[in-house]
């Protein structure tokens, strides 16, 4: 009898949870455990990590069960990479440029990278959005809420 994996997503996510749990237990054991009556900083985290490891392991095991028909939907979709990368990239560009280049340029970079992710957006629309959020930043965040941003490149 051969072992067949019926759900790769459960297999991988179960393994990841077990890995985090085991690592967590290792780290927590480095802290003082204390006793049940007088718990140290390691006591509760260890319990939580044991729980995480155990549930992760059951999820891992269940990946080998016969597939049920209703599990289909999300499992058949392919994991998209483009949109999450571009969204994270836009945020990272904002964070990277904010302190050195100022928020005006950070906003423009954010909108520009976000624009690549949005299909069918026109350059004119992007420029309008960039202008609008910079105006908003100035009027609401700086003038009304009185926040201090690095505004322009130093």
């Amino acid at each position: 009898m051969s072992v067949r994996v019926s759900n790769w997503r459960d297999l991988i996510s179960g393994l990841v949870l077990v890995a985090i749990g085991v690592l967590g237990v290792q780290i927590a054991h480095g802290y003082q455990m204390g006793t049940a009556a007088n718990m140290g900083p390691g006591y509760f985290p260890s319990l939580v990590c044991y729980g995480l490891t155990a549930t992760g392991f059951i999820i891992f095991l269940r990946a080998f069960r016969a597939a049920r028909p209703e599990q289909g939907q999300a499992a058949q979709e392919r994991l998209a990479i483009r949109a999450p990368l571009l969204v994270a990239g836009a945020l990272a560009a904002f964070a990277l440029s904010l302190e050195s280049l100022g928020i005006v340029i950070a906003n423009i970079l954010l909108v520009a990278i976000a624009g690549i992710a949005a299909r069918g957006i026109r350059l004119r629309e992007l420029a309008a959005i960039a202008l609008a959020i910079n105006l908003f930043t100035y009027l609401v965040f700086v003038k009304i809420l009185g926040l201090t941003f690095p505004f322009w490149p130093e």
Binding site: R9, I12, V48, T55, V111, A114, G120, E125, I129
Partner: protein, 499 residues
């Protein structure tokens, strides 16, 4: 102070120009996102939360709460007119609301939905005013063991009512607890799971976590699904229901209000559960159930009243016991904590302006929402034409700035981006983020109560069953757990989520 003094104090707070303005702003934003598909109250509250830190705590919570119930009103508009639930608890309203609209009774359905919601909102407000103070007094009697048991119960309920696999929801609870432990241990001063990064000494930033999991991941999700063109709108002839329609709708609305008020208080409850339960109840009570799904007005009046009542009474366990029953309330609780207010039995007595101001503002917001939604319905429908491609860079901008301004630290922007991607991957792996955020909020308190209870009992774990309050709560938890295992309940649960 008597009940009326309290209510008077509440209105004094809610009717200041400042707070009225923020209530209106919250209601407008809530209605807007309720109308727009792909942008729910959870994502919006997560995204706008940091901005509210610059307001007074009263204004902040009034505005965020306004977004929550505003989305309940707005969601029903698109559900009825274009069979598109702008918001998840409006899914039920689509069933009969859209059928009514197709028969030319869309206006009547809208009126019934708005007035039913308003009625429910008024009743729920009074219910909160009456029920919360006694519950808070009860909460003061709770010892550490009882609180620990209560939190276990709350988390179990959240797991039962989460969508998808129970096992994965349990895993998310443990993951949330673990993330909540990051930072300095309050008892010993030891750094835990900080990997030496000083930015983590105060714990993982709640705003970055919430915005990432609920805001950014939602944006990624909508981008991938792409924006469908809005379908054609049914036309509205008259907003007035006929006498027969009114006669059928009124009792359904009353039943929905009662059901929603009760279900909202339960851990794991809230607007979504209330609307489903009310639809099922109306269908069972109806003289000819065959009408349901073909434009039965009870199918609009009941669930719409129930979801609004449920949305409001979910505040009770959060404000009086410090237990958020769902993810939205977990965010609101986090927002209050950042304002330095610890939700729990002390809120009613220590922050009467906040508590009664919020209660009064619920009524004020409901009155505003009827006006915003009924006569102005045409404007909101027009807004549907705004394509998602224009909306999403703006949302991303609010995320980026929000994560930054709350702490003035760009690290939180990176953290939020990482949690956004993680949230998206989690959804693909069929893990729900809601149990995680609940556990994250409750984690540190759970540990604290667990430690204290064990200290008081000198390390004897039977303290959790020898205490009457915690025993009852743990028995309820076991009851819930048994329910999960029973195959019958499982089937019902799966069917309920499929509908």
């Amino acid at each position: 102070m008597s009940f009326f003094d309290n209510i008077a104090l509440g209105f004094e707070v809610a009717l200041t120009l400042n707070n009225l303005g923020f209530a209106l702003l919250g209601c407008l934003v809530g209605t807007l996102i309720g109308v727009l598909p792909g942008l729910g109250p959870l994502a919006t509250i997560a995204i706008l939360m940091p901005i509210t830190f610059y307001l007074t705590p009263e204004a902040a919570i009034i505005m965020l709460a306004g977004i929550y119930y505003g989305s309940q009103y707005g969601g029903s508009t698109t559900a009825i007119l274009m069979n598109m639930p702008g918001e998840s608890s409006a899914v039920v309203t689509c069933l009969d609301g859209y059928q009514m609209a197709k028969k030319g009774r869309g206006g009547a359905a809208l009126t019934v939905a708005a007035l039913g919601s308003f009625f429910a909102g008024c009743v729920a407000t009074i219910f909160i005013a009456l029920a919360a103070p006694p519950l808070a007094r009860l909460g003061i009697l709770f010892g550490p063991a009882d609180y620990f048991a209560l939190m276990v119960f709350g988390l179990t309920a959240a797991v039962v009512l989460a969508q998808g696999s129970l096992l994965k929801a349990i895993a998310m609870v443990f993951a949330g607890l673990l993330l909540g432990l990051v930072g300095t241990d309050v008892n010993s001063g030891a750094m835990r799971f900080t990997f030496g990064a000083p930015q983590l000494f105060d714990g993982l930033n709640f705003v970055a976590l919430a915005m990432g999991l609920f805001g950014v991941s939602e944006i990624i999700d909508s981008l991938i699904k792409g924006n469908r063109n809005p379908p054609t709108t049914a036309t509205i002839d008259s907003l007035y229901p006929t006498r027969e329609e009114f006669r059928a709708a009124a009792p359904a609305s009353v039943r929905g209000t009662v059901l929603g008020s009760v279900l909202g208080v339960l851990p794991g409850g809230g607007a979504l559960l209330s609307s489903f339960a009310s639809y099922a109840l109306e269908k069972r009570l109806a003289r000819n159930p065959a009408e349901f799904g073909r434009g039965a007005i009870q199918g609009v009046a009941g669930p719409e009243s129930a979801n609004n009542a449920g949305a409001q009474t979910t505040f009770i366990p959060m404000l009086t016991l410090g237990i958020p029953p769902n993810a939205i309330l977990a965010l609101l609780m986090g927002a209050l904590m950042i304002h330095g207010i610890q939700p729990g039995p002390g809120v009613v007595t220590q922050h009467p302006q906040l508590f009664w101001g919020l209660v009064a503002s619920m009524w004020v917001a409901n009155a505003m929402l009827v006006i915003i939604n009924l006569p102005l319905v045409g404007i909101w429908v027009q807004l549907l034409r705004v394509p998602y491609r224009l909306l999403f860079p703006v949302m991303l901008f609010f995320c980026a700035v929000g994560a930054f301004i709350e702490s003035g630290n760009v690290l939180n922007v990176y953290l939020m981006a990482a949690f956004g991607v993680l949230g998206y991957v989690m959804k693909q792996m069929e893990f729900e983020p809601a149990p995680l955020i609940l556990a994250f909020i409750l984690g540190p308190m759970m540990e604290e109560y667990f430690r204290r209870a064990m200290l008081l009992s000198r390390g004897d774990p039977t303290t959790f069953v020898s205490n009457p309050i915690s025993l009852v709560l743990l028995l309820m938890t076991v009851g819930l757990a048994v329910l999960i295992v029973l195959p019958n309940f499982r089937k019902v649960r799966e069917e309920a989520f499929q509908e």
